[in-house]
Symmetry: C2
């Protein structure tokens, strides 16, 4: 019986060229983040269905690949609904498993704990170009640090990594969920409408101030409120001064220190950064997940019309999961997008080793054969890639192929 040749819907086989870049990027991530004191950990791909359905995952909880119970636990005849059939699922992110991991192992971990995770996640999303149902996520999280040292380190680590991968001229946009809320409150929106307001605000870069205004009014909000709100965004800068003046405007509805905290993060990153990027204050930055409690950030690149990573502070999430309050702050880079951008650029992985092919004639005498392997061992010890392979009838074709694959030296061995 012939098998199905294509991968399952929405997932992909990774070919050698892409794999080389993925592997290189993963090593750069590991090495760079390690110098910032992050420690790599791993959780199983399979997670309890209860943990995946705890409402912290938002829309992703609708996209779970669920795993059937096994053996006697599967009672098909008695099953009234899907929930009776499954006991686990594939993780849809690395944050839910991190919460579980931390509560399971906190006694064996330092405090604060700086975690690096690289791993696949699965979402049964509608398949579309460039988005896959299995993809790699790469998160750094600092658990147990309530100072802005966490935010600064996360931004510096991420931007150092991107610079090492030759990305230039990108922006780190930053905002604070508390400023976002204060702006809405100051303008007169009721608290229960904030999420609706933010979903519309999030479209600012696509539909502009006018478009946002129209949609807010169409949603039924008072024109006066909308105008007061959008007035805040007019002529606002993207630097420390903008945060300062906005902080003064909002001082009656904003907790003391919030604006100053954001100023300190922007100013510090701006003055100590080594990469070619801008740190910009963006009061329209929303970030989808409602679990964020403080500063939020996102990476924007002109060559890619969308976010290539983001994160923020989420001080309340782990406590909700585990029962123990733990402040936390994380930054996730869009691994798949970064790999895609590098592939599109024709990125060549630096420092790849010399490739030599040894073509062996049939029935070489034992002595010559042994000398071939000894010579190869010497080369390999020096890091040279040696491909020992049987000489084919169509030798010209074989040699052309090897040259195309990057073999710069092709050596032939014959019976004398």
């Amino acid at each position: 019986m012939a098998m199905k040749k294509k991968p399952v819907t929405g997932m992909k086989d990774i070919l050698p060229k892409e794999m080389e870049i993925r592997s290189y990027v993963m090593n750069q991530i590991r090495e760079t983040y390690q110098t910032f004191g992050f420690t790599q950990i791993e959780t199983p791909a399979v997670e309890h269905i209860e943990n995946l359905s705890s409402k912290q995952g938002g829309e992703n909880e609708k996209l779970i690949f669920k795993i059937l119970k096994r053996g006697e636990k599967l009672k098909l005849a008695e099953a009234g609904s899907e929930a009776d059939l499954v006991d686990s699922g594939l993780r849809y992110d690395l944050t839910v498993p991190l919460s579980r991991y931390y509560s399971n192992n906190a006694n064996d971990l330092p405090s604060p704990f700086k975690a690096l995770q690289m791993g696949n996640v699965w979402r049964a999303d509608r398949p579309q170009r460039g988005r896959f149902r299995q993809f790699m996520q790469c998160d750094i999280d600092i658990l147990g640090d309530n100072t802005n040292l966490a935010e600064i380190e996360l931004v510096l680590a991420t931007t150092t990594l991107l610079s090492r991968l030759d990305f230039r001229g990108f922006s780190i946009r930053i905002n604070d969920r508390r400023i976002l809320k204060a702006m809405a409150a100051w303008s007169g929106f009721p608290e229960e409408s904030f999420d609706t307001v933010f979903i519309i605000l999030d479209k600012m870069d696509k539909i502009g101030l006018e478009g946002v205004s129209e949609e807010l009014i169409a949603e039924g909000f008072a024109r006066e409120t909308v105008e007061k709100y959008l007035g805040l965004f007019k002529n606002i800068g993207s630097d420390v001064e903008a945060v300062k003046s906005l902080g003064e405007t909002l001082k009656d509805v904003l907790k003391e220190g919030v604006a100053e905290n954001l100023q300190a993060i922007i100013q510090t990153v701006d003055s100590v950064k080594t990469g070619d990027f801008k740190m910009v204050f963006d009061p329209t930055l929303v970030r989808g997940m409602s679990y964020y409690t403080g500063p939020i950030f996102e990476i924007s690149m002109d060559e890619f019309g969308g976010s290539v990573g983001g994160g923020g502070r989420y001080d309340e999430m782990i406590g909700k999961f585990t029962g123990n309050d733990t402040c936390a702050c994380g930054f996730s880079i869009g691994f798949e997008r970064i790999v895609m951008l590098l592939l599109e650029r024709g990125y060549e992985v630096p420092g790849t080793s010399v490739k030599k092919a040894f073509l062996l004639d049939k029935n070489l005498p034992q002595e010559i054969l042994e000398n071939v392997f000894r010579e190869a061992a010497e080369e390999r010890k020096k890091g040279v890639q040696v491909n020992i392979t049987a000489m084919k009838k169509n030798k010209k074709f074989q040699k052309d192929q090897l040259t195309q694959e990057g073999y710069t030296e092709i050596k032939e061995f014959f019976r004398n």
Copy 2:
């Protein structure tokens, strides 16, 4: 609602110490195998249920984690059996996905194709100490080479890797499925009983020649046949000469060249090897999977009472899957066992970088703060791990902890 803290049954959280070793071993694997011309590839963790149930996977097909259909495709009310509910499952090995990958992408791959795969596989095995339901497999396979260069390269690559990881004094046992069968045929066992005979023979190292004899007789085989068979194993050596003399004995039932091929592999590996290991002929080596068609091999280590890897030639499997005959030979190392052995030894990953901790007093003036990050950036550029963290009230405890974690230098920064 508090979440479940433990990982799902049979799976594990990987703590920083183990992760460091895993990561190092993975890099050693990648680097070493690369010098032998292997190219890394990856397939999705999720595979078509049809491909996983094609009978090539043997007993593993009973251990599949199956994935529920989604959306409208799931018709619970109409489902008569488990098969109606699932469309895919988690891969239980890397060989089935490799077959699919090769038939899907052969046009874009060189021939012969030397593939390296490192990836998790899942088996719903009975949980037991040291065996997990998610574990890493690491396979190298050469597809499209029908010469023994493939076997020799696989053994040399694997033993070079083990030597780099400081393993000494291990053995590579080798046999050939065709010799195994010829010995049984020569003794008078009917072909349909071979599998039964081999299952008993496989216990030789545990129950000895006497025990094997008793079990074969208890199974109903003629005493004469059993004695003739076991006579072959008596006084047989483990070197090239043993293969030669056995080949002569079996010449009426053994295809010409099979013994000579095995001799050449043993002799070549023996004379060109650089690591501290023995290559031994072992006529009792069976390897479970019936898909092997030629030479088979296994790694034995005294410090671990069992196999830490194995493989062999399987020239007919890919054709059965894909409809196109493709000769193939592979070697899989027991990644989890190797990591376990290194952990038990207290293995220290070589070349780990210097670790420095910077403790920051509260509310440092902006100027000092910036200098701290600049100093850290300089150190990090040199590869030093710098952990910037807020100074705690119990500074002595904090510093003791950091020292325990391997921070050799702790620097404190205060408001002046």
